[in-house]
């Protein structure tokens, strides 16, 4: 029993690891080792930013180690740093391993697996094109997502509320909805005048289907007693929809919005690879065409950051809108 509680108690606090001072020391040592190995060992190939990468690692090691050692006195930022210290150590060791098997010992075939400094080089030299691609992707995504989410929400409320709308919309949704939005791609590119409007349509479609279905099920599943209460209090039909059905259905709507965002990412990348001549998907395609594999990895990293950033943003938005759920639902 004592063993069990001990085990459960130590898990969350990054235990089974040495205490804070020693952990800070290991963290600093890991980054300094990365800096040293990167700078001092001879490399197989010619990389312009090896010294820069080593300098960055050195600076991180010199900054992080003392901060981690003093984390107990640094308030919330210190607590956060203490929490992430094991991860930061692992990142340094990961970079070190990556550095060694690519640039230093060339254990992996070279053009396909560039070392970290080659990717740093892309970020430092090609950032205008990379940045422009992010903006292009965000613009296309935002347009399609907002249109799809908006229409899906309205349609979902209409289907959930009105039997007549449900009668006509239900078979269409059943038939067309499960089709992956990317299947429309060839059709969309000749129906629409520009590849941009075609892609917007596809992203809206990918977003709209889950939002519609979940909004609909949310509205249809609202406790009937809520409507009885509002009706006896003198509510108009508009009030029943906007102030009762919609707020009660919002938790479902957000599930749809999350699913829609995932679908929108997938369509975005495919559309950019196949038709739109801008954006991160296009950048990936372009990098592959020129065998610029470092650019490929750089774009993947940026894309991962963008997608996870947008998901976090949606989480924040949901937490704000559904703040009444705090304590009601665990997440």
């Amino acid at each position: 029993m004592a063993h069990l509680t001990g085990f459960a108690g130590t898990l969350p606090s990054a235990a089974r690891l040495p205490g804070p001072p020693l952990r800070a020391l290991v963290l600093g040592a890991a980054w300094l080792a990365l800096a040293g190995a990167t700078y001092a060992l001879p490399e197989e190939g010619d990389f312009a930013y090896t010294a820069t990468f080593a300098a960055v690692a050195l600076a991180l090691g010199l900054a992080l180690a003392p901060l981690a050692a003093l984390s107990a006195r640094l308030g919330r930022a210190g607590a956060s740093l203490a929490h992430w210290t094991p991860w930061l150590t692992l990142v340094a060791l990961g970079f070190l391993a990556w550095e060694l098997i690519t640039a230093k010992f060339a254990l992996l075939p070279m053009p396909f697996f560039p070392p970290p400094q080659a990717i740093l080089e892309v970020f430092l030299d090609d950032w205008p094109r990379l940045g422009g691609s992010i903006l292009a992707s965000l613009k296309l995504l935002a347009g399609g997502y907002l249109i799809g989410a908006g229409l899906g929400f309205v349609l979902g409320v209409a289907i959930g509320w009105s039997k007549a709308v449900g009668y006509w919309a239900h078979p269409i949704l059943r038939f067309v909805g499960p089709l992956p939005a990317t299947a429309w791609l060839p059709l969309a590119f000749f129906v629409f005048h520009s590849s941009w409007s075609a892609s917007t349509f596809l992203i809206a479609l990918a977003t709209g289907f889950p939002v519609t279905v979940l909004t609909w099920s949310g509205v249809a599943g609202v406790n009937k007693a809520y409507f009885d209460v509002a009706r006896t209090l003198g509510a108009s039909p508009a009030f029943l929809v906007l102030r009762v059905a919609v707020p009660a259905a919002l938790p479902h709507v957000f599930v749809g919005l999350f699913m829609g965002l995932g679908g929108a990412f997938a369509v975005l990348v495919v559309a950019e690879m196949l038709g739109v001549r801008a954006g991160l998907g296009w950048y990936l395609q372009w990098a592959q065409g020129w065998a610029a594999y470092a650019n490929l990895y750089a774009a993947l990293i940026v894309m991962a950051l963008m997608c996870s950033g947008l998901i976090s943003l949606l989480f924040r938005f949901r937490d704000r809108v559904l703040s009444w759920q705090k304590g009601l639902v665990q997440w």
């Binding site: 009885d228 006896t232 209090l233 108009s236 009444w324």
Partner: protein
Amino acid sequence: MVAAILERPNADVAGSRLAIEAVSHAFDIRGTALPVLDRISLDVAPGGFVALLGPSGCGKSTLLRLVAGLEPPGAGRIAVDGRRVEGPDPSRLLVFQDPTLYPWRTVQGNVRLGLEARGVAKPDRAAKVEAALRLVGLDGFAEVFPHQLSGGMAQRAALARALVNAPRLLLLDEPLGKLDALTRLALQAEILRLWQETRFTTLLVTHDVEEALVLAERVIVLSDRPAAIRADLPVDLPYPRHRDDPELVRLRRTILGILGQPI
């Protein structure tokens, strides 16, 4: 004084007259009609407090839904103050067994619901909501969300949500049915006080004989489904009533006898 803010300005008696004339009703269960009410006739004087007692599932709640106007009766006529009931109206309010507070609104937001639905001007809302909350003893809980309330407090909030609209007929559908014994006693006293202060007509559905006898001026005993009136007993005792008052005990035996229960 608190009640004065909620009361209608130009009404001598706050309560409505309720007339139920030969009302029958049936549910449609997959094509077959299941009769639930059998020619119920009942008159309630303005400001009266009538309890409907009957075995569970006998159709008591259905009768309240018909009076509230949530459904039209299959046959017969329901009139309030001489006017036929044709739909829900905020002057006739139903308090359910479950508080059915909206979880996304604070207590204050829930109580404000009727005022918003009827388009009461914003400046007037705050005072009325505050008065209603004070009336049920929930002042200080305005900003709390329903899931943070106990069962008794949630039911108080549901009462406030009804009372803020100054109803003239209050329909209570086993409002205390799911509460623990002590909370139930406290809320019975509360309902009595509210009724005495505001004098709305009250129709209480319950299957607790004692609750009916402690609160109501008249107890209607209903039969099994389809519900028909088995007895109409006046309870001519002064308030506050004692549970072991000999007359009350005698009435309790009579009612339990009518309901076919061992005494």
